[in-house]
Structure formats: C-alpha cells, structure tokens
Amino acid sequence: MAALRVPSTKAVNAGSIDPEITAPERPAGSGKRAEFNVAAAPDARGFGGPVILAVGFIALAGLVGLALRAGGPTEDPNFVRARDSLARYELGRTETERNYDDPLYDGALADLAKVDANSSSVTAAQTLASEITLKREAFRKRIQARETAAATVQQEISDRESESLAAHQMNLLMPKKDFPECKEGPGHAH
C-alpha cells in the first residue's frame, strides 16, 4: 500500500497570523507499532516484469534454436529411419543372432540409398550401407559353411553306419566257429 503523504502548508500561510498549520501528530502508543516494509512496495508494483522477461527469454531461445536448426545442417530422415530400424532390430541380439537376410536390412539399404547427397548424413549413411553389405556377405558365408559342415556330418554318420553294417554282415557270413583262446572245458557245448 502507498504511504499517506500530507502536503506542506507553509507556502499557503505565508504572512498569516494563523498559526502554522502542522500535521496532527498521534500520541505515541504504548504498544509496538506495526512495521511496514516500505522498501518492498515498488517491487510489488512491478510483479509482472520478471514473468514477461522469462517468457521473452524462452521465446528468444526458441527462435534462436529454430534459426540454428533451419540454418545448420540436418540429418537426412532416410538415414534416421534406417539407423533407428536397425537399432531396434539389433538391440539385444548378438552378431550370430542377426539375420542379415531379413527384409529389414533390404529396407535399410533402400533408405540409405535415398539419403540426400548434400545432407550431413551422407558419410554416415555410406559407412552404414557398406557395413551392412560386408556383414551380409560374412553372414551368407557363415550360413553356407554351416550347411556344408552339417552335410559333411550327415555323410560321415551315414558312411560310418554303412561300414558298421558291412562289418556285421561279414561277421554273419563268416562266423567265427572256433575259439582257440578259449580252452574248451568239460561243460562247453559248442
């Protein structure tokens, strides 16, 4: 609240016999007088100032950000899409658990091929594309080697069984009739 101000009466009563008008004075009270924070009064009047400043600052920062974004180099959305889709797929999968023949990798390569040559992502996109290609080749070699190894194992098992069967057949055809190492005892029936 603004403080009560009493205008001076000295100029009005100049030359008058009337006693000089003075402001009435209150007798000093016996109780403690209420304290008014006179210094705080001007701040209370300007309460909206900092808010406006903050809003202005935020707006300014936003404008600066937009300006920087519009003016500086940006990531190509094709690259971002490819990178994010691969990140989602590869998260938690080890190298041997990734199927590089998955259509997702075809899609990623297609997206990477669409990356604007003037964008900031072109180098990263090329690196990612060549990395996918290399890993895909290694993956296909690994699958091929695995299938070959499996076929070899199957062949070995088959050969092994054939050999055993042949030996068994030979044993049937030419059975051992005498056992010289067995000295025939009295109870021997053969």
Binding site: R88, R93, T96, E97, N99, D101, D102, P103, F139, I143, R146, E147, A150, V153, Q154, E156, I157, D159, R160, E161, S162, E163, S164, L165, A166, A167, H168, Q169, N171, L172, P175, F179, E181, C182, K183, E184, G185, P186, G187, H188, A189, H190
Partner: protein, 548 residues
C-alpha cells in the same frame, strides 16, 4: 448495427437468429465427443488384434524352433554343450516356409548340472514383426543301447567252461544283439533276450521271454517265444524303404529278415510260441522297456530293430582326463609311469599288499591312454618295467579310455598273501558313481587332432580294432560301470572261482564273448555314463515352458 435497426423484423424472431449455428456447433461437439473415443478404441482394438496375431506367429515360430533344434540333435548335426550350441532359421530352406517369421535358439547339455542321464534343454525365441516369444523344452534321452545289460552290436557268445550252473556264471540282465546270441550248456539267464537273428539256447535256461528272428531251443525257456522280422530305421528323407510304421517312420529289412524265422529244437518252452511279420502302418513295438527305461512285466515286441553303436566324445574325455591329476597319456609308457608312482603299501585283514591306487571318491580319475594298454601285476618284488608293474593289484576310482587293446593280468589268487573280497580285489574299477565308463577300448579317428574331433568323427565299429581281453589265471576282479569295445570283449576267467569277475553295470561290444567265472548284474545307473552319444532312444519331455 444500423442496418439491423432499419430492418423490419419481428423482435421475437430476431431473438432466435443464430441459434441454428449454435445447435450445429453443439451437435458437432457432441458427435465429436462420442466419435473420437470410438475411433480411438477401434484403432486400439485393431492394434491389439495385430499385436496378438504377431505374438501368436512369433510363438509358432518359437515352437518351430524347438522342433528344428531337436531335429538337428536327432540327426547328429549338433552336439549339445553345457554352454549351448546355437541354431537358427536363417538358412533359406528353413526361413522360406516360416513366411516372414524367424527363430534363434540354443541347445544345452544339462546332464551334468542335474546329474541324471542324458538331459538336454532347448531354448527357442521366435520373432514376427516387432513381437518375439521365447519357449523352453527340457527332454531326456535314455539310449536304447544302455537299457540292456548285454549289448552286442553284432554277436553275443557265452562259454560255460566249468559246466557249473549257479554263481560261477550268473547273468542277471537282459540281452540284446543285432546278430546271433549263442549260449553254452548249463547257464541261467535271468532276463529277456532280443535278437535280430538266431537265439541258440544250448542246454541253458532262459528265465525271461525271447524275441528273435529264429530260435533254436534245446534247453529251457520259461517265458514266451516270439519270432519277428528285423528292421533298421532310415532317415525321413529315404526314398527306398521296405516298411513304414504308424508314425510314418521308414525302415529297411535288416539282415534279410523280412519274415519271421523258424523255431526248432526239442527244449522245454514254458510260454507261447508265436510269430509276426510286421506290416506297413503297424505301431512298431521293438523294446522290452517302458519309455522311462524300466522293464515291462509282459513285453510284447512285434519287430526287432537294429541299434547302432554309439559315438564317442573324445574332447570331453580329454577334458575329464585333465581334471585333478593330468591323466591324458599319449603313450602307454607314460601311463605306466604314472601308475608306478601311485603304488601304495597297505595292510588289509592282516595281509600286506602293494596296490596301485588312483583316484578318490572326491577326485575320481579318468585315464586317457593312446595305444595298447596291457597291465601285468608282478607282485611287490616283481618286475617293474614294460607292461609289468611291481604291485599286487589296482584300485581305480574312475575309469579309462584306451585307443588300442586293454588287458589286465596277474598272478592267481593266493589267500595267504592277498586279502579276500570284498576287502580287496586284484583289479577294482569303480566308475558307476561318477557316471564314467569303466573301460572304453575304441580307436581314435584316423585324421585330425583331438582338438578338432567331433563325435561324428568316431570310426565305424567294424569289430577289428580295439579289444578288451582278460585272460585266465588271475585273482578277483570287481568292476562297476560300463565297458565298450570296438571289437571283442573277451572275459575269460575259466580256471576257478577265485578269479571270478564281478561286473555290475553294462557290457557293450561288437562281440560279447564272456566265459565263466563271471557274475554279471545290469545296473540302470549306467544310463548316465558320459562320453557315449547315441541317437537311438525315445526322447521324453521333462518340461515345456513359455518363458515370455
């Protein structure tokens, strides 16, 4: 505003002016308020349905992965490990039928972890779109070859030299043979027999049933005789086959036994004598055991099926040998040196003997010996060079693999010098408690190194290579565990009862050739024996879980 003031309009009508637009706006708001949630809900329902469909397809893919993983195991293409061996659907032949779905997985060997036979776990993760599901299957294999006590991959011949019946030659076991089973006189077999060829009883007594292609009975069979055809299972890809069972499995005749053979001999037959020629579409009953490996009370076999010899895991044997004492020996001489360093003098029942003591209950030893291994005990003051060892006997807590022939020999039992069983044996091998084989005599692969060998490299069992041979004129032997020889296992303790071989476990060989004095008892615990891989045997599902 002045225009309005000049119009001659009914004041009451003028009060309704603009209400239409308000109504339209309100109705629009109401419709929007009702329609928007409906649209949102409809879209959400579609998304839920799509996710549900993808999740179901991912689950189907995961289950397909379980089947594929087991198929790889069954074919022998992958050998499960404790750390897990990977499989996936990435090969085009597998990926194409999945129509966009895929799976990855691992097969773990959890046999040792749970301490129960051959136990495996398959984990499979199926993926479709953004959905993935994971399932787990635990299954157990009880190899058919380890269900029988006597397992002859070509022939079983028993010789009763003493002519005595009873404890001097006692067989408490079932017998299986891909070929003939030939008995001597005066022997009692306390179990059933399955043979793909001829069972010749001699004048012995068979206390169980006999299922064979043909039977010559001049002794006594207290059970039933059933003469059956003999088959060998073929891969599902086989284009030439002789029979198909009720499940579509394909078979070829084995040994030319496409019809049941004859029954001959004038022996005593306590049960029935029947025959059966297996037909297409039959449920092939070839085992006298239940799925859990226990013996059926009244088995009904309608066909005899070939059982293939097992493969060996050489690398795992070396790993076992490297445990505790380093007992991987590239020469028999190195093994002999090791054994000589383990001779202890001990007094048992007042008699002092020198015994080669290897392994303890806490630290059993598995010996891996390249070459022939012949051990001759010469007593405490005897020769200690070459194959001779200056000891009275051996006590091995563990087992052994030998790439060549195995033989133990020693002086005859002397009751004045040596303690009697069960306090002491000339040759004691205790392998069963540790799931180790007691004795494996089998050649190594001809090429490569142990670091590169896989079970598929195991040489074919042809009967001509590694043998287990125990000659007469020794002391008491006591073995627990499984023995396997590529050739013949000839246990020939024929002199007297003081060289009795007490054998508890299972005996597998191309040719089993046992002579008295011997007392054999099958122990089903041999099913946990390590290092032997066999694809014959029905898998039993222990548990199935959908993990997420």
């Amino acid at each position: 505003m002045s225009g309005h003031e000049t119009c001659d309009v009914d004041p009451s009508a003028r009060r309704e002016d603009g209400s239409a637009i308000l109504i339209v706006v309100l109705l629009t708001l109401v419709v929007a308020a009702l329609g928007t949630p409906m649209l949102v809900m409809s879209n959400t329902a579609h998304q839920i349905a799509a996710n549900e469909r993808d999740a179901e397809r991912a689950l189907f893919a995961a289950k397909a992965g379980l089947n594929y993983g087991f198929n790889l195991f069954d074919l022998g293409t992958v050998v499960p490990t404790t750390g897990g061996v990977s499989f996936d659907s990435f090969a085009s032949a597998v990926a194409t039928p999945l129509s966009g779905a895929s799976f990855t997985g691992k097969i773990f060997d959890v046999s040792a972890m749970l301490g129960r036979g051959q136990l495996y776990r398959i984990e499979s993760t199926g993926t479709f779109g953004k959905c993935s599901r994971k399932v787990e299957l635990v299954f157990e294999i009880i190899p058919e070859a380890m269900k029988y006590g006597y397992m002859a991959f070509s022939e079983a011949t028993l010789h009763n030299h003493s002519g005595l019946s009873g404890p001097s030659f006692k067989i408490e076991s079932t017998i299986f043979s891909n070929g003939k089973v030939d008995f001597p006189a005066g022997l009692t077999i306390d179990g059933s027999i399955v043979s793909l060829d001829l069972v010749d009883t001699g004048t012995s007594t068979i206390k169980g049933d006999v299922f064979a292609n043909s039977v010559a009975n001049t002794g006594t069979i207290t059970g039933n005789v059933k003469r059956v055809t003999a088959v060998r299972a073929l891969p599902s890809t086989a284009t030439i086959y002789d029979r198909v069972d009720a499940q579509g499995n394909k078979y070829a005749w084995f040994g030319g036994h496409s019809t049941a053979g004859t029954y001959s001999g004038g022996g005593v037959l306590g049960g029935t004598n029947t025959s059966y020629n297996v037909a297409n579409g039959d449920v092939f009953l070839y085992s006298v055991f239940r799925h859990n490996g226990s013996l059926m009370d009244k088995p009904d076999v309608n066909v005899a099926e070939y059982i293939a010899p097992p493969q060996l895991d050489y690398k795992a044997m070396k790993v076992e040998a490297d445990l505790n004492d380093p007992t991987y020996f590239t020469t028999a001489g190195a093994a002999m040196t090791y054994l000589r360093n383990h001779i202890v003098t001990e007094t048992i029942a007042g008699k002092t003997v020198k015994t080669v003591k290897v392994g303890t209950n806490a630290q059993p030893e598995f010996l891996y010996i390249v070459g022939d291994f012949s051990l001759v005990f010469t007593g405490g003051a005897g020769s200690n060079t070459g194959n001779n060892i200056a000891a009275d006997g051996i006590n091995l807590e563990g087992g052994m693999y030998v790439s060549g022939d195995v033989a133990f020999d020693g002086p005859s039992y002397n009751s004045i010098l040596q303690p009697a069983p069960p306090d002491w044996y000339q040759v004691r091998i205790n392998a069963l408690p540790y799931c180790l084989p007691a004795i494996l005599a089998y050649p190594q692969p001809a090429t490569g190194t142990i670091a590169t060998w896989t079970p598929a490299n195991t040489p074919a069992m042809t009967g001509g290579a590694s043998k287990i041979n125990m000659s007469a004129g020794t002391g008491f032997y006591f073995w627990t565990g499984l023995t396997l020889s590529e050739g013949e296992t000839h246990l020939h303790h024929v002199n007297n009862a003081t060289e009795l071989i007490r054998f508890i476990g299972a005996e597998l060989a191309f040719k089993i050739h046992n002579c008295d004095y011997m007392w054999f008892t099958y122990d089903p615990n041999v099913r946990c024996t390590k290092f032997l891989l066999t694809d014959s045997g029905l898998p039993q599902v222990v548990s199935y879980r959908e993990l997420r």
